[in-house]
């Protein structure tokens, strides 16, 4: 990542963004480069995050898209902190597609996911801000003939040695300077912005007054809207298509089978016309290779597989036979079979993107989550050189993992729709909510079977854990990184690497085969493994006669940092929730704790039951340890949202199939969490000086099992989801 760029290359890059007087940034290895449009040398790899124009406007380039998780506030916070300006003074732009500058340092590609945005940007953005500050101070020091150490930059002004001037006065001189190799970062005691609980989101105003531009809002001159008629069963192909009946729909412009042979694209002058015309297009399908099973059959197959010998060993422990023997011979056995259904991400903004022709290529307008993947997919489908493709990243109306897929699915659809047109007009692909719910890329359904052996003293002696589900990474470009000895890490994470000290744990895995497409879904494997682990820990505690919090703490008693941090949030959540205090009549509590994406989260859910036994989630108490809390209120918001996402899905959601056809069509039958479903959420953030870790996903995993444990504390133990179809009624 230290390639030398010629000055000419840079100027092309600079002109592709905006003409800037100072562009500054840090490479992953810490090499710094600065360059000026009017002078100055570019000597090394450039990863520009800060631009200051000649009018003094500071702009932060945000390399991670904004889906609500707060990157467009968080990354500018780091720059503003180090630079010494107010957050409100910096403008925010989403970075263009350029993997040499804007790669996620944990991926090696430009993209957002795995709750890594702050974790991988924290030092990189701080260093970029600090370098800019040092260069501006050095330029001022030279101009005033004083030592840089006498000067300070604050609120856009440079002052010291009895003088003061706006930083804009020194931008040109700073841009011509050699950048410092190792700028000095502010020490945490002097932070004004990092850790400030009163920071306002930078995207508040546009999202409150309707001016925020999402990909769905792209309205280009002469654009055509494309909707896709996909096979009603996964794996079906087009035999014949007849669009003659669509001819009467005003605005209909044509329909054609995609070269992939698995869908038909319908073009129209506007969105409504496209949706109406699609209804009139008749397609004959070949379902020979398609998934045609019903949900009962799929569930039975998963449960049969979880009761058969596993195909792969995720954690050997004492070995399969020895573990089985220990459980069989234990004084007490706690056993349960779990079924967790297929789930859809269903972000508020249905999938959409627009491909606009440019002089020598195309421009993609998208709430682009996996930028490098989208860029490569466009180049491949449209047979264009990478440099002739631009990506304009817009706000994304949620994602929860859906906008990044291994196959860049909807971006490829848009590219194909564009390729099949005359390429003279922008093509805007729009998914309806019905497309979204039936469109696959689901959280795969999983079956777990767990048998825990307890000794005569109540202590755990063995844990036999079997898992079956369709793997996410196997057979994709990510296989090498995430699949080892046949085990897809995403199928077992949260079980085989549990932080609990469990003597003798065996984890076996079998893959489920189906044409149903799967994807990472907010918290990935933890979305099912935490439910099972935390339900089983509760059941084991009960069987052993222990309090669920005390039982967990007794299995986190080691001195590893991991165990201490998880125990820490568990104690905090328990005490904040009044775990040891008596409950009002009709109420019960449940607890769960889980580490995911480097972050430790514990939650206590308190529920009530009315006279008719209907359950209401009254309040949730949560403690989170995510290292340094950069924007505490955004962290709280992410955890609140993760809790809602986790609880809403275990309450009511599943994707089911009738002879392979998805049953759910829209929000009425994929019932989302609504305002009255969940009471107040209290989130406590643990003070920490550890490096920041993720917060977008880690709130999700403990929420479902904490609710299940609260229900089990005064009623049935739910091991099949969703709860509403398995004996639980909600008020």
């Amino acid at each position: 990542m230290t390639t030398t760029l010629s000055r000419r290359d840079f100027l092309q890059t600079a002109s592709a963004t905006v003409a800037a007087a100072l562009v500054i940034g840090y490479s992953p290895r810490g090499a710094l480069a600065a360059a000026s449009a009017t002078g100055g040398d570019l000597t090394t790899n450039l990863t520009p995050f800060v631009k200051i124009d000649t009018a003094g406007q500071i702009t932060v380039l945000v390399k991670h898209f904004e889906m609500g998780q707060g990157t467009s506030t968080g990354l500018p916070t780091l720059i503003a902190e180090e630079l010494g300006v107010d957050l409100s003074e910096v403008a925010v732009e989403f970075a263009p597609s350029d993997v040499t500058r804007y790669a996620n340092l944990l991926f090696g590609a430009q993209g957002t996911g795995g709750s890594t945005s702050m974790a991988n940007s924290f030092m990189q953005y701080r260093k970029a801000g600090a370098a800019a500050r040092e260069m501006l101070l050095a330029a001022a020091a030279r101009a005033w003939n004083v030592a840089p150490s006498e000067l300070a930059l604050s609120n856009g002004m440079i002052s010291g040695a009895g003088r003061e001037a706006p930083l804009v006065d020194f931008v040109a001189a700073a841009a011509a300077m050699e950048a410092p190799a190792e700028p000095v970062l502010r020490s945490p005691e002097t932070f004004r912005l990092i850790g400030n609980p009163n920071t306002s989101r930078r995207d508040n105003a546009p999202k409150i007054n309707g001016s925020a531009r999402f990909a769905m809002d792209v309205q280009l001159e002469d654009q055509v809207v494309a909707v896709i008629k996909r096979s009603p069963r996964f794996g079906g192909t087009v035999v014949a298509m007849d669009s003659s009946a669509a001819g009467t729909v005003p605005g209909f412009e044509g329909a054609v089978t995609l070269p992939t042979g698995n869908a038909v694209v319908v073009y129209a002058r506007n969105t409504w016309a496209a949706m109406q015309a699609r209804k009139a297009v008749a397609v004959e399908w070949d379902f020979a290779e398609a998934e045609s099973r019903g949900s009962d059959e799929i569930e039975s197959a998963l449960l049969a597989a979880v009761n058969a010998p596993p195909a792969f060993i995720a954690k050997e422990g004492p070995g399969l036979e020895e573990t089985t023997r220990r459980v069989d011979q234990a004084a007490q056995t706690v056993e349960a079979e779990f079924f967790l259904p297929w789930l859809c991400h269903a972000p508020m903004e249905p999938l959409t993107c627009t491909i606009e022709p440019t002089a020598n290529g195309v421009r993609l307008h998208d709430g682009c989550q996996f930028t490098t993947g989208a860029h490569q997919a466009l180049a491949a489908v449209l047979e264009l050189p990478m440099e002739n493709i631009e990506i304009n990243t817009l706000y994304a109306g949620g994602s929860f993992g859906r906008r990044a897929t291994m196959t860049a699915d909807y971006i490829v659809e848009a590219a194909l729709a564009f390729a099949m047109s005359d390429r003279s007009r922008p093509v805007k692909l729009v998914w309806s909510r019905e497309d979204d719910l039936a469109g696959g890329a689901y959280r795969p359904a999983f079956a777990h079977k767990v048998r825990v052996g307890l000794g005569a003293d109540g202590g755990m002696v063995a844990w036999d854990h079997r898992i079956v589900g369709k793997p996410i990474f196997k057979g994709t470009a990510f296989e090498q990184a995430f699949v080892h000895n046949g085990v897809d890490h995403s199928s077992v994470e949260g079980v085989s690497d549990t932080l609990y000290g469990i003597p003798g744990q065996f984890v076996g895995l079998t893959d489920f085969k189906s044409a149903i497409t799967v994807n990472w879904w907010r918290s990935v494997g933890h979305s099912h493994t935490a439910f099972v682990m935390e339900s089983m820990m509760d059941m084991a505690a009960k069987a052993a006669g222990h309090d669920p919090v005390a039982w967990r703490l007794s299995h986190l008693a080691g001195d590893s940092k991991d165990q201490r941090r998880l125990a820490g949030v568990l104690r905090l959540a328990a005490s904040r929730s009044g775990w040891d205090s008596p409950l009002e009549s009709g109420r019960s509590r449940g607890v769960a704790a889980h580490k995911s994406f480097g972050t430790y989260v514990a939650q206590v859910v308190e529920i009530s039951r009315d006279a008719a036994d209907a359950v209401k989630v009254e309040r949730v108490t949560c403690a989170v340890d995510c290292g340094v809390a950069v924007n505490p209120d955004i962290i709280k918001a992410q955890i609140e949202g993760g809790i809602g996402y986790g609880i809403g899905h275990v309450m009511r959601n599943e994707v089911t199939f009738d002879n392979g056809v998805v049953t759910q069509s829209n929000f009425p039958n994929y019932a989302p969490l609504r305002i009255a479903d969940i009471g107040a959420i209290d989130v406590q953030i643990v003070d920490s000086s550890e490096p920041p870790s993720g917060v977008g996903e880690p709130g999700v995993p403990p929420a479902g099992p904490a609710l299940a444990n609260a229900i089990a504390a005064g009623g049935p133990r739910v091991t099949r989801l969703p709860m509403v179809n398995n004996g639980v009624r909600f008020a």
Partner: protein, 154 residues
């Protein structure tokens, strides 16, 4: 077809049966009003018709010839401004895609009832889905907006 939208008389050509939502978004380029479900189940498309929140995705445009339509872009009522202020104070938004609809519904609620209780807030806002689950902040922000209105009236 002629409409009165955000205080302005507009004339557009639309096919019979086109919902107001698509006239706003695709013809008038008023994209603050969002498409989320198309079946009046999520509230992202909420606008005011004669001051009352409606789901524009199921409202045929031709039924609105004489109506006064207000979208998020034209929201300028006392209640609307109070809601927007409270939303910012509480950092309600996350992805933000549902928030135009949430703001329009909350403004509708406070326009009709300037000091709603929690149950009334939950009942009124039940039709507005937020997949980011910003609900507890919405509850607090509506209550805060009511407070702002009360302060203004003092």
């Amino acid at each position: 077809m002629r409409f009165r939208i955000n205080g302005r008389q507009v004339e557009v050509e639309v096919a019979q049966g086109t919902p107001l939502l698509w006239v706003l978004r695709d013809e008038l380029k008023l994209t603050g009003t969002k498409y989320g479900c198309g079946v009046a189940s999520c509230g992202a498309c909420t606008v005011h018709v004669n001051g009352t929140p409606v789901r524009s995705c199921v409202m045929p445009a031709e039924s609105l010839a004489d109506a006064e339509i207000t979208t998020i872009e034209g929201l300028d009522s006392k209640a609307g401004r109070a809601v927007q202020q409270a939303w910012a104070e509480h950092n309600v938004v996350q992805c933000g895609y549902c928030q135009s609809g949430q703001v329009m519904s909350a403004a509708g609620l406070l326009g009709a009832n300037s000091s709603p209780g929690v149950d009334e807030i939950e009942a009124y806002m039940a039709g507005n889905v937020c997949r980011c689950a910003t609900y507890q902040r919405i509850r607090r922000a509506v209550a805060r907006a009511a407070e702002i209105l009360e302060e203004e009236n003092q």
